[in-house]
């Protein structure tokens, strides 16, 4: 028999650990349709039965308030898993059973996995699982997901549940007022066969009383007349309850569910030996880690440590990657004849693939670092400590992760930064963080700043970098506030959150977690990034110079070479790096390179990108940018550090090394139209304008293409506005 088993439970109840223990590395990660909630699937084989195991998102309830809850509920209804394993944390049984009750009310075949019985026992809690099983009417199996204890028993129970008919939905009594309303509604629902093909009768009535947005909407679509009648009953009983008891039907339902659970537990299911006020190890750790004074200092050190880990230790594998691609690039360059094909393969494809894979080590390290903080429970403390600050700007305490990784400490990268927003469970705050994290000063913006600082502020390098860091933080936070007041406005998502006990992460969990997320990046973002890389290459290459001009440049180059003596030409052709060239040869080489650079400059200004750059010069003048800067900024969409090399080409300086751009900075100082104010304007623009397309693709993958495009338009408009302000106000003040 083949059947589907869903795995549901509270966040932090050990659901993922159990999933990993059951499926090992044979898992498949995807998305639920239309939302960015991971859907993990794996296989488990037992006695010839093949079970497809689906990991549902962790939820505390089955309402329709969060994406996770809707996803979990829809999966249980629409895909009808044969058995649902409800994993329950034995050390906080009461709250965990709240979800169990809702599973049972939905009438789905359930099997309870009582996890972390060792932790509960350590806290002096003993649970009579047989009694609990009898009271709930479903199997309850004690397990320890971390060690795999009880796994076999659990799966045997799953097999048994799979072979018996579906159970009757559980009935919790909700008190006289509500029960009368429910009975009345049940009659209406049964009479019209209203949604009964999907949900149990009583459940529909309860959801109407709970004002469940999804069910109300579905009801309206199905039969507006019946929906009206049900809503009238709901309003009537709601008004009555508010008047007599000063509460809401949904509150009464929750109270009764908890009442049902506590009366069940009081029948001898749970025995607590210890004093309830005893401090557990976790609480003692918290006395230090969230201490008023020590807490923030330790947090700062840990975040710096994470940053160091992600960006310093990943340098080695990043260098391997770069080395590999440089080698492939050289190989292809030497094999292919000069021309379009070579240019496409080298500049379009290899650089594109290199661009995709170059990020992999960083992403891998970032996910590993964050997985450690997340799985250990520390990330929740970071959110707890910083929430007061971020709340002011309409963000969430957890937003800090994305900011820091993106370059909150100058030199990060927005690609892993954007992906770090996954730890945020509040949708609005998440979008605002996603859109503003790229304002941070990532490693690719630093060469641009270095170039301009070297040219115009040579005596205050450190001070300038500090000021730029402050500007990016201020800009990001204020922009987030602006977004939260306009496009993602609305009340903040409640901070009601569990502070999970500290736990030692398991290596296996960390590995699986890190690997699957990194692989997702390669698979999903990779192809798009490659495509855009080729498009950008085309925009900077086509249309090509007309043949007459190419000929003119060729003649010019030929003319230079023909003036030289054959010995000098031969010397150049056989030259190696180790040998010093004679004066005449050096001169010839410089002349030829200058001619090539002029040609490259002309070709760039003739290309589509060049034409756009020239076209928008009239507008970009307001910010002090000439057409060359415009082209460079267009190139910067590929990666911000490309601004430096493209600027070099546009100024006909030949290939400029991004790490050592002395020639370019010297040129900018003497170039008319360039002054300190222009540099300021360009630095501000570079900081805030459209993120590089790899980041845009990641933003789109983490939310939707709508937000990906929005980030390009919004950021560029904001950056242009700021740059114009800087330039115009500065000019007016006489700078």
């Amino acid at each position: 028999m083949n059947f589907c088993v869903a795995l549901g439970g509270n966040p932090n109840a050990g659901k993922t650990t159990l999933f990993n223990a059951l499926t090992g590395s044979r898992q498949h990660v995807g998305n639920y349709p239309g939302v960015t909630v991971d859907r993990k699937e794996g296989r488990y084989v037992q006695n010839g039965h093949e079970m497809r195991i689906v990991d549902l998102p962790g939820t505390y309830s089955l309402t329709a308030y969060s994406v996770e809850e809707v996803v979990a509920r829809d999966f249980l209804i629409n895909e009808c898993p044969r058995v649902t394993v409800n994993i329950v944390d034995a050390s906080s049984l009461e709250r965990n059973l709240y979800l169990t009750i809702q599973f049972l009310e939905l009438g789905i075949p359930t099997c309870v996995a009582l996890n972390m019985i060792d932790v509960a026992r350590g806290r002096g809690i003993t649970i009579d699982d047989k009694k609990l099983s009898r009271l709930l009417g479903v199997p309850v199996i004690p397990i320890m997901a971390r060690s795999g204890y009880g796994k076999k028993d659990l799966m045997a129970a799953v097999e048994t549940v799979a072979q018996v008919p579906r159970p009757q939905p559980l009935r919790v009594s909700y008190g006289r007022d509500l029960e009368t309303a429910i009975q009345e509604m049940e009659k209406v629902i049964a009479g019209g066969n209203f949604l009964t093909d999907l949900y149990p009768l009583r459940w529909i009535a309860i959801k109407y009383l709970e004002n469940d947005a999804q069910i109300l909407e579905k009801g309206r679509e199905k039969d507006a007349q019946i929906a009206d009648r049900l809503e009238t009953i709901t309003r009537k009983v709601g008004a009555h309850i508010e008047e007599t008891l000063e509460t809401y039907p949904e509150a009464m339902i929750a109270d009764h569910r908890y009442g049902f659970i506590s009366s069940m537990l009081k029948q001898g299911v749970v025995k607590e030996r210890h004093d309830e006020n005893r401090l557990f190890l976790s609480d003692r750790i918290d006395k230090v880690l969230v201490n008023r004074f020590a807490g923030p200092i330790i947090m700062l050190l840990l975040l710096m440590g994470l940053y160091q880990f992600v960006f310093t230790y990943s340098e080695v594998p990043v260098a391997w990657c770069e080395g590999l691609f440089a080698w492939v690039s050289d190989l292809v360059s030497n094999r292919l004849p000069d021309g379009l094909l070579k240019s496409l393969v080298v500049s379009g494809v290899i650089d594109g693939v290199g661009g995709v894979l170059g990020f992999v080590p960083m992403i891998l390290f970032m996910f590993f670092g964050i997985a450690v903080l997340e799985d250990s429970g520390y990330l929740a403390r970071v959110a707890f400590m910083l929430d007061r600050v971020f709340q002011i700007f309409g963000l969430h305490g957890s937003s800090v992760m994305a900011y820091i990784v993106s370059g909150g400490i100058a030199g990060g990268c927005a690609v892993p930064g954007v992906m770090a927003t996954r730890t945020l469970r509040s949708p609005k705050e998440r979008i605002a963080t996603l859109l503003t994290a790229p304002f941070m000063n990532c490693g690719a913006k630093l060469p641009v700043f270095a170039l301009l600082i070297a040219a115009f502020f040579p005596h205050s390098r450190a001070g300038m970098m500090f000021v730029l860091t402050l500007i990016s933080w201020g800009g990001a936070l204020l922009a987030a506030k602006l977004l939260r007041m306009t496009v993602v406005k609305g009340a903040s998502t409640p901070f009601v959150m569990e502070l999970p006990p500290y736990r030692l992460p398991t290596l296996r969990g960390l590995m699986i977690h890190t690997w699957e997320r990194t692989w997702q990046y390669v698979k999903k973002a990779g192809t798009v990034i490659l495509g855009i890389s080729v498009l950008l290459w085309a925009a900077m290459t086509f249309p090509r110079l007309p043949p007459s001009q190419i000929e003119a440049y060729d003649t010019l180059r030929g003319g230079i070479i023909s003036t030289a003596t054959p010995q000098v030409i031969e010397e150049l052709e056989t030259a190696t790096k180790a040998k010093l060239l004679s004066d005449a040869a050096t001169e010839l080489k410089a002349a030829v390179l200058a001619a090539d650079a002029r040609r490259a400059g002309a070709a760039l200004s003739h290309s589509l990108a060049g034409r756009i750059g020239i076209q928008v010069e009239t507008i970009s003048r307001w910010a002090g940018f000439d057409w060359r800067t415009n082209i460079a900024l267009l190139g910067g969409f590929a990666a911000k550090e490309v601004i430096v090399s493209t600027l070099g080409t546009a100024y006909s300086l030949g290939s400029v090394d991004t790490e050592a751009a002395e020639s370019l900075s010297a040129r900018l100082v003497v170039e008319p139209g360039w002054r300190a104010l222009t540099a300021w304007s360009l630095m501000i623009f570079t900081m805030f304008y459209a993120p590089c397309f790899v980041t845009v693709v990641c933003i789109a993958r983490e939310s939707s293409w709508k937000w990906g495009l929005f980030s390009m338009v919004f950021n560029t408009s904001l950056a242009f506005f700021l740059a114009v302000m800087v330039y115009q106000v500065g000019t007016a003040l006489g700078y």
Binding site: E94, R95, A254, L499, P501
Partner: protein, 78 residues
Amino acid sequence: MKRVNIRNMRVDQKGTVTSVKVGGELGRRIRDMGLVPGTKIRIQGRAPLYDPVALRVKGFTLTLRNNEADLIEVEVNG
């Protein structure tokens, strides 16, 4: 016996929830986590900037912003 809201409670002070005066998503989240009338709570600590607050309830630790804690009324001794 007097009634206060959670914002005004001291660290380590204990009490029993008497009412949660909010509906909608926030009310739902609060109730989902087990903060229903009759539940015993203890203030576990506060963040460095005094907000949010952490409480111990039903064997686990829960965090709330102060403006959310305002809506929960608790009966305390003395």
